[in-house]
Amino acid sequence: MMNKKESIKTREIVWKTIAYVVITSFGILLIIPFFWAISTSLKPAGQEFTYPPKWIPEPFVWENYRIALTLLPFATFLKNTLIITILATIGSVLTASLAGYAFARLQFPGKNFLFMLCLSTMMLPYVVTLVPTFILFRWLGWVDTLYPLIVPSWFGGGAFFIFLCRQFFMTLPLDYDDAAKIDGANEWYIYSRIIMPLSQPVVITMLIFNFVNHWNDFMGPLVYLHSMEKRTIAIGLRTFLTSMTERSDWNYLMAASVATTIPILVAFFVAQKYFIRGVVMSGLAGR
């Protein structure tokens, strides 16, 4: 007969096994689409049309990736995406951190009102402003240039980033500011020499989110970028799909899809901690 301690232990083992089985099966279900895409991307032409499907390609055709990424000028798409990402990110980090600093550590009339206004724009459906913004950029002669996708980032960088900065700056001790003020430092000095050097984590989070947002952005480039040499990765991939559907070369389509997903996955694995921190912070925005 089992004593009480042993029976609790057995129960725990049984319970944990069930938990592992459940989360593993669902986990496999979530990962299968990736395996499926990778497997298709390496198949020789025609092999994707077998039923039941062949899971391991025979032979592995790595050449598919080279062909898929040169059928359309993906190098140009990459260049455009990187230009947008880098220039927009600089503007966004600079202007959002300035606004976040003012909201977090300075006193001025109308502060609460402006901050609530800023937060409320996070909930605004972007399509409400889409048509007039397009007309504005068209009037400026910026359609089919990268400017409409870069310039807005230099004006506040997005409410979420302002919020992110404000929350982070509020955790830094106010003593630093006070000490600097006694030495005669003004707000600009405190921002640039004390606050920003301490804010590496939030800057890294902003870099990653900017990168992911611009890499994935679809509606913006779709509306503004028309000629082939101006397109970004996301919009280029869509173009690739349109040019492929009649031929149904799913191996090339999967190769291009997998290839354009890899940089995002790399970013995630390199900076997982900052990535998750950003997501968690987005959950605090509503409190």
Partner: protein, 300 residues
């Protein structure tokens, strides 16, 4: 402001200068366009000709426009069925990922990863998964003995459920937010309940759920807002078809604005969408006082 002492005045002026980029951006890219959007919604404007004032004609047309009602129905369907499923799924996953199991962080990564897959890439992957003849979805059903040629997104009756199924794949972000909420629940609450002999269900119902309700409320609000703006999947995968069964509001708006160049009608559609989202959000805030529990209220 002139009443403020000198150093405070200087601080306020610097604050406004630091906020200036955002304030200018807010006026130029948010407030200004919102007002312009109302004005344009009363116009007929193809961008090629000068705009013409037509009063409420766009709204009158919307009321009679069958495709508008179809897109509204599709969007509400996608939201009313999809959001609860996604939130419940994310909650279940978050609860599982909060278990104290060895290697759980690996599982968290696996469950999170699909949500960061670029929308166009995942749309193309799912287009292939939903292929009726050679796709993964039917192949998996085949393995468990269901050999039916389900047409998924190519079947008007199944296209929306298929897109909802696909959206369940990307709940990772919500899962992380809810998981953070779960980890913020003080351990003492559970210990106290255990002393009183509370079981698993009791603890979930009387501690976990109330303590997590602000996070659940937040993700639901954001899900409804983003669900009303569903676009990329429909644009890339189905282009609104088959038989307009995935013609969502933003897709219809996009077509009107940027394919038919009916800027006026597109703007009135944008305002209609905005009103729906606003009313739904207000209703949710109103309803929240019956089920959302804020810890601060007890203390305060």
């Amino acid at each position: 402001m002139s009443k403020l002492p000198g150093y405070k005045r200087r601080e306020a002026i610097n604050a406004y200068i630091m906020l200036a980029p955002w304030i200018i951006g807010f006026i130029a890219f948010t407030a200004g366009p919102m007002i312009a959007s109302i004005v344009i919604s009363f116009m007929e404007w193809s961008l090629l000709q000068a705009p013409r004032w037509i009063g409420f004609e766009n709204y009158r047309f919307m009321f009679k426009d069958n495709l508008f009602w179809v897109s509204l129905y599709n969007t509400i369907y996608y939201t009313v069925i999809g959001v609860p499923l996604r939130v419940i799924a994310a909650l279940c996953v978050a609860l599982a990922m909060n278990l104290k199991l060895r290697g759980i962080s690996v599982y968290r990564t696996i469950y999170y990863i699909p949500s960061i897959t670029p929308a166009v890439a995942s749309s193309i992957m799912w287009l292939w998964i939903f292929n009726p003849d050679f796709g993964l979805a039917n192949a998996l059903l085949g393995y468990i003995g269901i050999h039916s040629r389900i047409r998924w997104i190519y079947d008007p009756a199944l296209s929306k459920p298929s897109l909802i199924l696909m959206s369940l794949w990307g709940i990772g972000g919500m899962m992380i937010i809810l998981l953070a909420g779960l980890q913020g629940i003080p351990e003492q609450l559970y210990e106290a309940a255990e002393l009183d002999g509370a079981g698993l269900w009791h603890k979930f119902w009387h501690i976990t759920l109330p303590m997590l309700s602000p996070s659940i409320f937040f993700v639901t609000i954001m899900q409804v807002i983003s669900s009303f703006q569903v676009f990329t999947q429909a644009y890339v995968m189905t282009r609104g078809g088959p038989a307009n069964s995935t013609l969502f509001m933003v897709l219809y708006l996009y077509q009107n604005g940027f394919e038919f160049f009916r800027m006026g009608y597109a703007s009135s559609l944008a305002w209609a969408l905005f009103m729906f989202v606003l009313v739904l959000t207000i209703l949710q805030f109103r309803g929240s006082k019956y089920w959302v529990f804020y810890e601060g209220e007890l203390r305060g």
